[in-house]
């Protein structure tokens, strides 16, 4: 009975804790990878503490700062289709440096010839929702409730869905038209610095720019980690408390079921077992139970998150965000997480079972058996 209680409690707790920890680390790692490929610096325009459109004329000033290699204007925002919100990206097609994109499943990526022609490349989520393929036309409603017709020239692959599922990529001219954005303004600037320069140093040189907010990769990454870390941390704390509770249950079971245990111990000592032998037996028993329940719990937690997208738990981590069916949660199992979970399960279990065993073992065997029989 005692073993069953320990196994079930530890199994449930470790499954939940591991699912959240592995998912949180996967999301953080995914964000880390994306941030690494983000521009060295992103320059936005602040007015009264709010982010607004940035004047294009800033590009020339930023390009003149020592250490700046390239300044690329971007227009991007969100478009609603049905109950979903999609990310619309307007690219300066003349500044695209690559000619082939492995992330395209069918069709092609944008080229400089697509500027202002209404050609778009879309992700799997929107393609599935609207049931469109390469060569089809789609009509998107803008915020100003005007219909905009676009021609699908490319479709992103399933493999790239974690990055592209909700994307609609078009030329910057088309994005300007779609968002009805005034000429001479863009959403922000992607700034790339020379290899020999530190982005933070270049950012410092831009401090003379009025109303500018400059984000570097480190700030972006810290922002993501703060969001996931805080949310995941709260949840893990709650479940760790439960684990401590489970350890107390184990302790309680060891004491309450002590009558039987005392008799066993008395019998063993009569047969010549020493106190150390008895503690050793309990230690091995706890290790077996602890490793069995915790390892199984972590495997179940991994399967629950990686193959079933952690229903119930994922909402806690993502809040109002949703996970498109098109891709699976990024799950990362780090050694740190695995050993941390072992540390908060196996060690308390050992302590809470070995201590009562020691208390029983130091009692006189005859007295122990008499008391147990009474």
């Amino acid at each position: 009975m005692r073993s069953a209680v320990i196994i079930v409690t530890f199994l449930i707790a470790t499954t939940m804790v591991s699912a959240v920890l592995f998912t949180k680390e996967g999301l953080e790692r995914e964000a880390e990878i994306s941030v690494k490929t983000a521009p060295d610096l992103t320059v936005q325009y602040l007015k009264a503490g709010r982010v607004e459109l940035i004047p294009l004329e800033y590009a020339k000033t930023i390009a003149g700062v020592e250490g700046v290699k390239a300044v690329i204007p971007r227009i991007w925002g969100y478009a609603g289709i049905s109950t979903y919100t999609f990310t619309v990206i307007g690219l300066d097609t003349s500044s695209i440096q690559y000619t082939s994109f492995g992330s395209i499943e069918s069709g092609r990526f944008l080229t400089p010839d697509d500027a202002g022609k209404g050609n778009i490349v879309i992700g799997k989520l929107i393609a599935g929702l609207l049931n469109v393929k390469v060569g089809d036309d789609i009509i998107l409603l803008s915020e100003s409730v005007e219909a905009n017709k676009f021609h699908v020239v490319g479709l992103f692959s399933d493999a790239s869905s974690i990055y592209t599922a909700d994307m609609i990529v078009m030329s910057i001219q088309d994005a300007r038209q779609f968002f009805r954005m005034p000429d001479g303004y863009v959403t922000d600037f992607a700034v790339y610095v020379e290899d020999y320069e530190q982005p933070a140093n270049v950012a410092a040189k831009m401090s003379f720019l009025p109303n500018a907010r400059i984000l570097d990769q480190d700030l972006l990454l810290r922002g993501y980690k703060a969001a996931y870390g805080a949310r995941g941390g709260i949840f893990v704390t709650l479940w760790t408390i439960l684990l401590v509770g489970a350890a107390l249950v184990a302790f309680s079971q060891a004491v309450v079921v002590g009558h039987e245990s005392k008799f066993e111990v008395g019998l063993l000592k009569t047969f010549g077992f020493t106190t150390l032998d008895i503690i050793e037996v309990r230690l091995v028993e706890s290790l077996v139970l602890g490793f069995f329940a915790t390892s199984l719990g972590m495997i179940l937690g991994y399967v629950y998150a990686a193959y079933f997208n952690a229903p119930g738990l994922v909402d806690i981590l993502l809040g109002w965000a949703f996970l498109p069916r098109e891709f699976r949660l990024p799950v990362f199992i780090s050694w740190t997480s695995v050993f941390s979970i072992y540390a908060v399960t196996v060690i308390p279990l050992i302590i809470t079972t070995v201590v009562p065993a020691w208390l029983n073992a130091i009692t006189d065997p005859e007295l122990a058996m008499r008391r147990a029989a009474a």
Binding site: R74, T85, F101, G102, G223, V288
Partner: protein
């Protein structure tokens, strides 16, 4: 197999299986295709976690949301955190999230 050996053997098998899963998972992350050319071209750091929430411009909620809302592509990441506590009280947010305290951060 004797019944007494069942639990110890299962514990060893499950622990080994977990270690194997851990190694496999880490190798798969290392060998994963990240489509660097695409991410570099697009330049937005977020992954495609979408949002059903349409009130991000609610003046009250924006106080919470803006801590990451304004980061390129990060429009929804702060929302999971907004239920924990008022971010204004959290030192971590105040210091680590760019632009949260409404001051311009340069360099």
């Amino acid at each position: 197999m004797k019944k007494i050996y069942f639990m110890p053997i299962m514990a060893i098998i499950l622990t080994s299986a977990l270690m194997l899963t851990c190694i496999t998972n880490q190798v798969s992350w290392q060998s994963r295709e990240y489509f660097k050319e695409l991410r570099y071209t697009i330049g937005l750091p977020s992954i495609a976690i979408g949002t059903n929430y349409e009130g991000t411009r609610n003046p009250l909620l924006e106080v919470f949301v803006r801590s990451l809302y304004d980061i390129p592509g990060g429009y929804d990441y702060v929302v999971p955190s907004s239920f924990i506590d008022t971010p204004l009280k959290l030192k971590d947010y105040h210091e680590s999230v760019p632009g949260f305290n409404l001051t311009t951060r340069r360099g």
